[in-house]
Assembly symmetry: C2
Amino acid sequence: MSKPTPLSGFPELLPAQRAIERSVIASLSRTFELHGFANIETRVVEPLDRLAKGGEIDKEIYVLRRLQAEDAADDTGLGMHFDLTVPFARYVLENSGHLQFPFRRFQIQPAWRGERPQEGRYRQFTQADVDIVGQGELGFHHDVEVMRVMVEALAALPIPPVSFQFNNRKLIQGFYRGLGIADVTEAIRVIDKLDKLPADQVARQLIERVGATPEQAQRCLDLATIRVADTSFVERVRALGVEDELLETGLAELAAVVEGCSGAGGERVGVEANLRIARGLDYYTGTVVEIYMTGYERLKSVGGGGRYDALADDGKTTYPGVGVSFGVSRTLLPLLADGVLVGSRSVPSAVLVAVTDEESRPASTDVAQRLRANGVPCEVAASPQKFGKQIRFAERRGIPYVWFLTDDGHEVKDIRSGEQATADPDTWTPPDVDLHPQILIKEQQ
Amino acid sequence: MSKPTPLSGFPELLPAQRAIERSVIASLSRTFELHGFANIETRVVEPLDRLAKGGEIDKEIYVLRRLQAEDAADDTGLGMHFDLTVPFARYVLENSGHLQFPFRRFQIQPAWRGERPQEGRYRQFTQADVDIVGQGELGFHHDVEVMRVMVEALAALPIPPVSFQFNNRKLIQGFYRGLGIADVTEAIRVIDKLDKLPADQVARQLIERVGATPEQAQRCLDLATIRVADTSFVERVRALGVEDELLETGLAELAAVVEGCSGAGGERVGVEANLRIARGLDYYTGTVVEIYMTGYERLKSVGGGGRYDALADDGKTTYPGVGVSFGVSRTLLPLLADGVLVGSRSVPSAVLVAVTDEESRPASTDVAQRLRANGVPCEVAASPQKFGKQIRFAERRGIPYVWFLTDDGHEVKDIRSGEQATADPDTWTPPDVDLHPQILIKEQQ
């Protein structure tokens, strides 16, 4: 074997970084479970006819074939999932007889897309999804609930502040309809370009492509520029003078979501109504959200989701859902690469038990077992080098304590301060902060 | 979408079963981390030239191609890993400059093999591997250490008793060499058939294929039938009258492993020297182990591993390793299918907070938040049905408690006993046993 090189788009983490990722995943899971969401894990493959729907994403799907299949074209008919929504919808249909609805689940797994790798976009990436799915119907209050869960979940993470930007498809559609715009879908598609084009060009396209009058176009732009951190958007939309029943429902729903999520994440999570968020064209039917991270706006959204009135459908029953997805890899990998998040050590060990000589290794192993009995992660030195070398062995791994067996008994040294004291392996524990690896958060570069 | 059917060889779990799998994975991780093993996760793909080595397994490798690649034969050159050893070896080589050796890692991930599915064998399956790898050299004491960690890890799991059956390749090779058998490799291959063939046929093959004399064949069989739960095998091997330096090293190593592991797992883990364990032909160079589960001998081993003097090699440096792998899917899926392990509930929620009417939902949500602040997982009822229906809603999910807001204040009902009492949402917590889903272990069928 020659020395291998990394594979573009398939990032891997060193142990200290992986400890951060695991801690983030554990924290997300903890919040989701406190809210009663059950974890599931789906297989990584789906039949191709469920994955490939003729959309843009199709060409990014990885298809599996057996290495020594007779014919290179002899595929298994299976592709790797490119998100967690498609497999979740399939899981719900397949197991509907065994699930209790509304079914509340979270799922934290990798997905795969054969796209061009860039910062925040990888060929293998981990996502964390929470969804609530109903059988036949699903009350609107679940929109507030699931969004609030993600607000709390991200507030608990050691990442820069994030902002949840909410909108509602009923609000947009109702507004356009009330305004007299015929092709609502095309209008949304054009307004979605506000990211890339100046407002006057967007207005011109509304007139040319959607057949809007200049006044209608202006009001579409007026709507899209409303962005507030409270429910004052309701009055501002009403001031635009459009009347529509669906618009009223959308306004009420969006107000409930903004109100229900505000403050749930403390100072570190912003909650806004941003009336130009559309989140693609199909699929969503009510609440929509995009999540952005302060200082990392270049990544575009680090998460998003919304309400879909037909997450799944087996011909007899429709399963409406509402959910939100957080890009674990998209968020963490740039933070790790930039040195914003640093792990305090590369091993779980809080203590290195020194070895005096090979003959007394069993005594050192015994100390380690007694420390472990109290939940202290530790390891025994690999070889009976001079104590100075063993201390450096610990230092290189970031292990804060070294334990010595001396003729007089036991001593433990904090190798950061140099402080050394006698200790009893049956009762000694380090301060809580030293028990497990810590995540050090540095000022952003 | 029509109702989907399960995909053979790609098992998935219902939420209550998945809770068991997660709890098992958490328990394994806890033990590994107490012993200072760092977790890593490798990407699911490897370049084909690292995976396909011309062996039997090659035809089971899944290869990736992009769905809309120009040509069906236009593969990515990537295949999915079929174990965790190949990616680990590659990871060590790739990151050798950033790792501290001996490097102690655990890895719990799926692997994929396109083989015919059967009980205990799946196309996607999860394994838990612990290994220690050195740079240039790795002391023998790490053999004892890593095996002991797995003994402790399995002892902590809610599974039937397991048995670790150890042998040592140096012992076998030294014995055969000392006996005067020229083709040691072929002799091991023949002895390995003792599982399937009667002893006299194996003896005949030793004579015919390996060129052994009848007396040599008999002594090979004598060695292979030694199986004891202590170090008395040393005397029994010596009694066979073969002398060889490598044999002596092997005897000493095997005795140290058996001694070091005995008792580490209490009553629930057996530790034996079983001198016919060979574990394949190549690769291993010292300690070898197979793990069997009581009552599930039909699964063959549920784990195994050993010492390999060249886990990886980059042309300049050799990386010896010792490790052991536990088949999480292979073990758990049959136990779940047989109803030996049953989850106590399908949701994390310990409490369902009832809703009196839609108007007072915020009051119920507030109670839930106060319970969560004390670490009590809970959920709010989906709709303000009659209380009897809300209790059945909880019952179907296995949620043990329902919380009511009455005119007089708060009351919590244990729906199993029917007992109901006033409670304060800021201080009430359920008994520990009810806080999280439990694993119920039934008598084996």
